[in-house]
């Protein structure tokens, strides 16, 4: 479904991704593990067109994504739910979510249906739908971000650290939601620091270090791997 082939990405003189390759099959839930600064977000920025590649190829369902604008990537069916959420803080919850359907705006009935689905998925958002998104708690904001991303009807969903700064209970809710989205057929690429929780729902996992993939395999194989542990605790 989504493949990265020898991708390089530079920030000025710094090479953030160094000939990195990975693939996510249709319907898979692929987890990217790695410490802060390992390059997980850079992978996402490369895929969603926010940052130009220095080299390599990215393809989505056989289509080359090189040089496609962020808007074009969304239209092609790939939605990036970024780290830090990037909400529109002064807009209401409902508008934030609704804007996720911007590329499908002409399908009014579909937008309405999508909005209802998101509100059903996160009832707390339905309660607060007319409040400014910036006034919500971190967990609720993450729900808005996920809901907004789902409104783009992604075939592939990139989720960057959805558990960031959230309380354990909320993290669990978030992961349940991600697993549910995946079960309904969306391919998910999930970057996480919360390794065990992420491995619990993954179908495949990669460990990213210094802008390269250093290890990959099924979750069970990685769960007790020393290198996974080392990625976090340096041990």
């Amino acid at each position: 479904m989504l493949t990265l082939d020898e991708v390089c990405l530079d920030y000025g003189a710094f090479r953030a991704l160094d000939r990195l390759s990975l693939a996510a099959a249709e319907g898979a839930l692929v987890v990217l593990l790695g410490a802060n600064g390992a390059g997980k977000s850079s992978i996402f920025r490369a895929v969603s067109g926010l940052h130009r590649l220095a080299a390599g190829r990215i393809s989505l369902g056989g289509r080359d994504l090189a040089g496609v604008s962020p808007a074009g990537v969304v239209r092609a069916g790939l939605v990036h739910c970024p780290e830090g959420r990037m909400l529109f803080p002064a807009m209401t919850v409902e508008k934030n979510v609704r804007l996720g359907a911007y590329v499908h705006r002409r399908d009014r009935a579909g937008v309405k249906r999508g909005l209802d689905e998101v509100m059903a998925m996160f009832p707390v958002l339905a309660e607060k739908r007319h409040q400014p998104a910036g006034s919500l708690s971190g967990g609720q904001q993450q729900m808005v971000a996920l809901g907004r991303a789902l409104m783009g009807r992604p075939k592939v969903l990139l989720l960057d650290e959805p558990s960031l700064g959230l309380a354990p209970l909320v993290v669990r809710q978030m992961f349940d939601a991600v697993a549910a989205v995946n079960r309904r057929g969306t391919t998910v690429l999930l970057a996480e620091q919360n390794a065990h929780a992420a491995l619990g729902i993954a179908s495949h996992a990669y460990v990213v270090e210094g802008g390269r993939i250093v290890l990959d395999g099924p979750p069970d194989a990685l769960r007790n791997d020393d290198r996974v542990r080392r990625a976090y605790l340096g041990g």
Binding site: S48, L87, F88, A90, M91, L99, V103
Partner: protein
Amino acid sequence: MRAAARGRDVLFFQQVLNGLTIGCVYALVALGLTLVYGILRIPNFAHGALYTVGAYAAFALIGRLGANFWLALAGAAAVSAGLAVLSERLVFARLRAAPPLHDMIAAIALLLFFEAGVQAVFGAGFFRIAPLFPQILRFAGLTAPAQRILIVGAAFALMAGLHLFLDRTWTGATIVASAQNRTGAALVGIDADRVSMLTFAISGALAAVAAVLFAPIALLSPAMGELVITKAFVIIILGGMGSVAGAIAGGLVIGFAESFGAFYVSTDFKDIIAFGLLTLILSVRPQGLFGRIAR
């Protein structure tokens, strides 16, 4: 005794109407400025020139092509909107990665260019556009020039329209969203270039409409935009840079302050009132009234 009190009431009403008129003009100019600030994050010093160009475009359409007032208004809006879009495409879009100082200098350069262009075509003299409604309305002993009523009515209609546009339409939402989080907007598929061009076009059109409506009361001169734009800056600093409601409220506040200041203090110093207010407030609160300045 009663006649004197009555006279005071009439004069008071006159000041309210004057304040409302000028406040509406300021608000329309400040609205465009604040929208562009939201997208560009730099003060567009050239905005005042769009105001001037708009007025002269209408003047030319009426005087040389015999257009009627409404047609001239639409034409002026189109000219200013077009120039705004051109300056965005040719200049600001290409300076995105440059230091903010460069954007500001470029904006100043555009301002100088537009002003000089107007002067080169029309000369330095003063002109006047005939009011659409020259009559004076009388109501319950109060009098009001119809043109002022037209300004207030049209301005409020435009503000309401702009509010509905930003609040209710997909296209309007793209502007609001981009101002609040540019990356977030890109990630839902909003085309940043399109939003920038649209925002500049709206800002130019609003400035031109304000200028044309006000032109029958004020006079046309190449420097007519300078004072208005400077006050519009005062307004968006006070009202919060990027805030639409702040621009409208700030515009009206400054309008009233000027009209009453001119009446009760001195006409000579009415133009200083806005700046004095700004200095006073920023001396006490450097972060502005709404605390969004010191980012």
